[in-house]
Assembly symmetry: C2
């Protein structure tokens, strides 16, 4: 006679009850919200504690307090139950060929260029589409914690396994200066320029800002701290107003969509600095959607943004295309 393999000491339903108690700090209140009776909750929790061999609640105080093991359990059970709910939903809707919900992150610098095309594409594949602009680091974290299904951004999470990556575009960093300003052609010229006109910075909360600062440090260039902004518009508008110069990218500049102004653009002197925009999604969970979406975004970006940028800046690399 075979020995029954060891079963898990809890089930999702019990964990839901446990989490209800954690939230309510009361078995009676949890019972109400879960449409069960207080003794059912009490017995379920007691049984769970007996099966796992530790106390989860301190019942000698009111309201109930979690033990350290209880706190650990709360965190991990919460994640587990949340994931289970997402599985339930994902299974149902994937099988219909449509997703119930797809949440896409889009880096700020592509917001104007791609929000429309992205949403238009996704809406043909999901009942509900959420497009969230923001910083790529936040999007990457959200993808890991399954609060996003995919994102387009500057970081491709290349050190993490289990994700697919589709490159959309690689672009160089460029100089942007106020109208009619002299163009620096060397690193030395750039440093001289900075003595008269401050560098308008991207925030260090963005990967773009970080890359630029790292680049300048490696050139041993130490521009004084001054203005910094989160958005391409903030940076570009200040340049247009003659308040300083900036290091940015053609797409960021296009994103800023300055009205009628004529900032000057030039290649960044010294070693080349580039950034790549990539679509990242979990492997195997969205079928061909990421690849198809990438194609759609490339087409749209080329027509709406890259071709005009090449016209405006003929000195951009031949490789600057989607």
């Amino acid at each position: 006679m075979t020995t029954r393999p060891a079963r898990l000491p809890f089930d999702l339903h019990v964990l839901e009850a446990f989490l209800g108690v954690c939230e309510a700090r009361s078995m009676a209140l949890a019972a109400k919200s879960l449409a069960m009776t207080q003794p059912a909750i009490s017995q379920a929790i007691a049984d769970l504690e007996q099966r796992i061999g530790v106390k989860l609640f301190d019942r000698s105080v009111r309201p109930l307090a979690l033990t350290p093991a209880g706190e650990l359990m709360r965190q991990r059970a919460s994640a587990l139950v949340s994931e289970a709910r997402q599985i339930a939903m994902a299974i149902r809707h994937t099988s219909r060929g449509r997703l119930a919900l797809i949440r896409a992150g889009l880096v700020d610098s592509l917001s104007r260029a791609l929000t429309g095309p992205l949403a238009s594409f996704l809406v043909t594949h999901a009942d509900h589409v959420s497009v969230q602009s923001g910083l790529t680091s936040a999007h990457a974290g959200a993808l890991l914690t399954r609060n996003l299904d995919l994102f387009i951004g500057v970081d491709d999470m290349s050190d993490v396994e289990g994700f697919d990556r589709h490159e959309i575009v690689t672009e160089p960093y460029i100089l942007v200066l106020p109208p009619r300003h002299k163009i620096p052609r060397s690193v030395a010229d750039l440093e001289a320029c900075a003595e008269k006109l401050p560098l308008i910075r991207y925030s260090a909360r963005s990967k773009t800002g970080i890359d630029i600062e790292r680049h300048l440090r490696r050139l041993n260039i130490d521009f004084p701290q001054g203005l910094e902004f989160d958005t391409p518009f903030g940076v570009s508008d200040m340049v247009a107003r003659g308040k300083g110069f900036a290091i940015t990218t053609p797409i960021c500049l296009a994103e800023a969509a300055l009205d009628g102004s004529d900032v000057r653009t030039a290649p960044l002197p010294g070693p080349k600095l580039k950034r790549t925009l990539t679509l990242v999604s979990r492997r195997q969970e969205l079928g061909t959607l990421p690849r198809d979406l990438t194609k759609a975004c490339k087409s749209s970006l080329e027509a709406s943004t890259l071709a005009p940028l090449r016209s405006a800046m003929p000195w951009l690399d031949e490789d600057f295309r989607a």
Copy 2:
């Protein structure tokens, strides 16, 4: 009368049964391995399918085939059940003040210096200790997929939320040359040196190798491809044999533990390049263990490695200490 809130359409036990069928490709065989009867399995799966509203198996063929929805379910259910098992174990042992198992990753370059102290410390906190040397990128991936509980490495996963980081040491990259070789004092000297003696490289699979290559590119230095190694010993031994020079770190050099040879060391000309070694763990799951472990590692590293290195290379930065 309150409406009962929507329950999850499955429980862990049913998912275990489902996964058993996936693995065995047979309900009868799954029943045997789960110590249940075949009809119990058949009914459980049928009920699951009815609750979630999709077919998971194609029963018109033998052996059973998974539908696309079934394949997605298999992947996600597998992760869920695996996580549930780990929760069960973690809760049990955390509450006893000891862990059942703790798995620590340690970057290759600290292997000799810290494997002993690390294992000695952890064995007082866990019944079973696994210390895995390797590349930090693999360790970071393993931590994310919960195949490691903590690691000490070069990447601190700073873009990912939910982790604690404790800095252990920051060290500069340095030059290492064959015995009695002339020391380059400028970037130009370094390039001239490379015309006679090749650069012995770290593999691009390591973050250290990547950082060095990126650094050289930003200096517009393009050393020809030649020898590359994964380990500090491989790189350092080749230098000792007069086969080339290397860019490395004091800790890597110490790790190489060259027998009786007398390679020359010098500051790296040009912009400074440093690396930081950090202990990374999930927030709030290991209590004070990561902080305590960090202290223990710093003490041990200072005594065993950093003090001797400062004696051997008096020109190292004052900040070069744990």
